[in-house]
Assembly symmetry: C2
Homo-oligomer: 479 residues x 2
Amino acid sequence: MDSEQLREYGHRMVDFIADYYKTIEDFPVLSQVQPGYLHNILPDSAPDHPETLDQVLDDVRAKILPGVTHWQSPSFFAYYPCNSSVAGFLGEMLSAGLNIAGFSWITSPAATELEMIVLDWLAKLLNLPEKFLSKGDGGGVIQGSASEAVLVVLIAARDKVLRSIGKNALGKLVVYSSDQTHSALQKACQIAGIHPENCRVLKTDSSTNYALCPESLQEAVSRDLEAGLIPFFLCANVGTTSSTAVDPLAALGKIAKSNEMWFHVDAAYAGSACICPEFRQYIDGVETADSFNMNAHKWFLTNFDCSLLWVKDQYALTEALSTNPEYLKNKASQANLVVDYKDWQIPLGRRFRSLKLWMVLRLYGSEYLKSYIRNHVKLAQDFEELVSQDPNFEIVTPRIFALVCFRLVPCENDEKKCNNRNRELLDAVNSSGKLFISHTALSGKIVLRCAIGAPLTEEKHVKEAWKVIQEKASYLLHK
Amino acid sequence: MDSEQLREYGHRMVDFIADYYKTIEDFPVLSQVQPGYLHNILPDSAPDHPETLDQVLDDVRAKILPGVTHWQSPSFFAYYPCNSSVAGFLGEMLSAGLNIAGFSWITSPAATELEMIVLDWLAKLLNLPEKFLSKGDGGGVIQGSASEAVLVVLIAARDKVLRSIGKNALGKLVVYSSDQTHSALQKACQIAGIHPENCRVLKTDSSTNYALCPESLQEAVSRDLEAGLIPFFLCANVGTTSSTAVDPLAALGKIAKSNEMWFHVDAAYAGSACICPEFRQYIDGVETADSFNMNAHKWFLTNFDCSLLWVKDQYALTEALSTNPEYLKNKASQANLVVDYKDWQIPLGRRFRSLKLWMVLRLYGSEYLKSYIRNHVKLAQDFEELVSQDPNFEIVTPRIFALVCFRLVPCENDEKKCNNRNRELLDAVNSSGKLFISHTALSGKIVLRCAIGAPLTEEKHVKEAWKVIQEKASYLLHK
C-alpha cells in the first residue's frame, strides 16, 4: 500500500470508470454471453508474478465487461433499480480507503455514530415515528440487504416469544404475509427454522391490487389461535416486488398488535419515494410497526449495499444476536455507553457504509432527492400512457410509483397462449441488448415489468424502450 | 451520475485517500474520542440543498477522521489485520463503479464466473482437495464474513440431517467445537435455533496450546449418542482468534466422518499463510472437511469484505437456501446451466467482490503474496524475541503465525493482580495513540495480543511498539 502508487493507479481507475459511464449506452444492457464464457478465456491458475495494471484493465474491457449486465445503463428497466451516483461512489471509495472493520464502537467510533445520525436524518425525512429514532430504545442500522433485515427481526421476534414460552414451542410459531411478499421472508423462515407449514402465505388478487386484505389476515390468525398455534410475526409490504402493491399498514398493524405479533414493514423499493409528501401516505400506519426497512441502494442514489432498518426495540435485536467474547471486550462496551452494531446484524465485521449515505444526503440535499424520485415517477407515467394507447397491450395493475406492469393482451381469451407470447416478447426485447426489462406473474398471468429508476434514464430512453417493445411485439404478432 | 463530475470528484477523492495514507502515522491508531462525540458536532437533520465536496471533505478531516481507528496504520496490532492494498482498493472502486446486484448469473455473468474462477485459483494455491473445486459438485463462494460462512454451512448441515430424520428433531442436534472457537459459531447456533444446551464447547488448555483434543471430542460424541442426541456439526479451527491455535484436522475429521457429521474448518485468519509450503501442514487433513473458510480481507491484501468459503457439496447449501420466485426466473437458471450464488448465501443481492481478489492475485502474483506473509511472520518472530528478552514479560503460547501472545509476568504468584496489571498496561499503551494492541483470556489469564499484519508495518514499527509497551510497563511497575 504505497500512497503514490495508490494515487497513480487510483487516478487511472477513476478515468476508466468515468469513461465507462460516458460510453455505457454502447453496451448491450443485458449481457449476451453464454454460460461458461469466462472459463474459456481466463487462465486456470493465478499468476506467480505480478502483471501490470494495463494488462488487467485490458482484460476488464475485453473479458469482463461483455459479461456485465449494465445496471447503470439508462435503459435498464428490470427488477428494481440499483442506483449508483457520484456521491455514492465517492462514499464507497472513502470507505474502501479507510477499510475499517467496524464491528464495535471502539473499532471506529465515527462509523457507529455517523450511522446512527444519518439513519435519524432519514427517519425524519420519512417522518417515521419518534420511537424509531436513536435517542430512546429504538434506532436505525444499515444492513446489507432487505433479506438480512427481515432475517434479523424475525430472529428477534422468534427469540422474544420463545424466551417467554420455551424454545420447544418453535414448531407452533406462525408467520403471516401476503403471497406478494418477497422471497426473502421465505428464506428467513427457512434459516430461522420456522416450520414451512406455519408460514401463512395469504392470497391476494386484483380486487385489492394485490394488497393484503386485513380480513384475510384476521381469519388466518383466528384459525391458528383456535388450532393452538402462536401467531408471532407479520410482514407487510409497501411496494411489492412484482407490482408495487401497498398493504394497508394501519389495519394490519392493529391486528398484529392485538395479537402481540412483531410487525415488520418491508418498503425496500418504495420507501425512498416516501420522503415526498405526496407519497408519505403509503406508509401511514407505520407507527404500529416494530420495524421498517428501505433499501437506499435501490432508488436513493446510494451504491449497493445499503439497506436501512429501523426498530423500536433495539434490545429485541441485541438479546437475540449478541455475543461477548473476551477478545472483543472494551471499556466503552462494557459500560454500556455505546452501540455495538455487531449485535444488530448477522456478521461481525462491517464496512463504513454510512459514509456513502451521508455523502448522498449532503451532496444532493433532500429537495433534489425528492425531485429525483418525482422525475422517475413522471417518466413511468409517460410509459404507462404510451402502453395504454396501444390496443395490443394492457396495463395489468394501476401504477403507483415508477413501475409499470403491462402485457400483450390475450387473443381469443387464451391465457396460456398469451403467457407464452409475453415470454417470447420478453426474450426478444432483452436479447436485442437495447434495454432490459423483467417479468413476474400476477394471478397466473405473465406480466412484463418496466421499472424506471436508473439515475441516467431520461425521457428519450423511455420512448426508445417503448419503440423497441412495440417493434418486437409487432414482429411476434405478425409472424 | 455525470461522467465528468465523477471524473473530477473521483480524482479529488483519490488524492484525499492517497494523502491519508501518506500521513496515516500522524493519527492516534486507536481513536481517542468519547462516546457521543459526533452527535454534538453534526446537524440533526439532512440538508435541504446540496453542499459542496469541499464542505464534505473538510468535515471528513475535522469530524470523521478523529473518530476513526486506523486499521491501516503500520502500528495497528489489535484483533487481526484487515488488509487494504492498492489492488484491493482498485477492485473496490471498479465494483462500486459497475454497481451491479449480482444475485443470479444473468444479472452479470462475469460476476458469478469470475468468482468461481478466482476461488478455484486460490483453492489451488492452498492445495485444497479437488472436491472443493468448481468443476464437480463443490466450489467456492465469497461471503461477507466468517460469521456468514459458518452460518450457511450450519444451516446446510442442519437441514440435511433434518430432511432425513424430521424437523421436530431439531432439539436433538448437537454442535461441537473447542472453547477457542470464534463467537461466530455461537451466534450461528442462536440464529439456526440449535439449543444452547446442545452446543458442546470443549475445554482446551495449554497442554495442547489450546487445540481441540480428539479424545475430548470422541468422549463428548459418545456421551451424546448414548443420551439419544444427534451429533451433526463439528467446527475446527486453524488459527484461533485468541492465540492462533491449530486443531488437528485429520484426527478430528475422522471422528466427524465416522459419525456422519458436517465438518467445517475455520481458517479465517491463518488460511492466508497456508499458500506458503512451510505453513501448508497446518491444514493437513482438510480433505476430511466438508467446508473450509478463510478471510482474504484479513491477511491477503483484499479489502474488507471478502470471506472465502469452499464446500464439497454445493447442493447441501442450495437445498437449504434456495428460493425461486417467478420474478427471478430466467432461462439459464431454469435450465440448470449456471450457478446462482444467491442460493449459497443469506442475502439476495451481492456486490462484484471477486474483482478485488482477482486484482490482488494478478497485480501481486502468488510469489509476492507468499513473501508478504513471510515478512509479517518474521516481524512477529522479532517481536517475540524482544519480549522473551525482557524478564518482566513472558510469551504465553508458542507463536505459530504472526500473532504474539504475551503478558507481564505475575508477581508473587498473584494471578488476579497480574490480570489487572495487564489490563492497565493495555489501557496505557492504547491510550498513548502510538499503537493499538488488543487482549484475550487464556485459562483465565489476561493476555496481550500483538498481531502483525498491516500492509504498512515495517521492522521499525514493531521495534517502536515494543519500546512504548516497555515504557508503559516500566511506569506501571514502578509507580
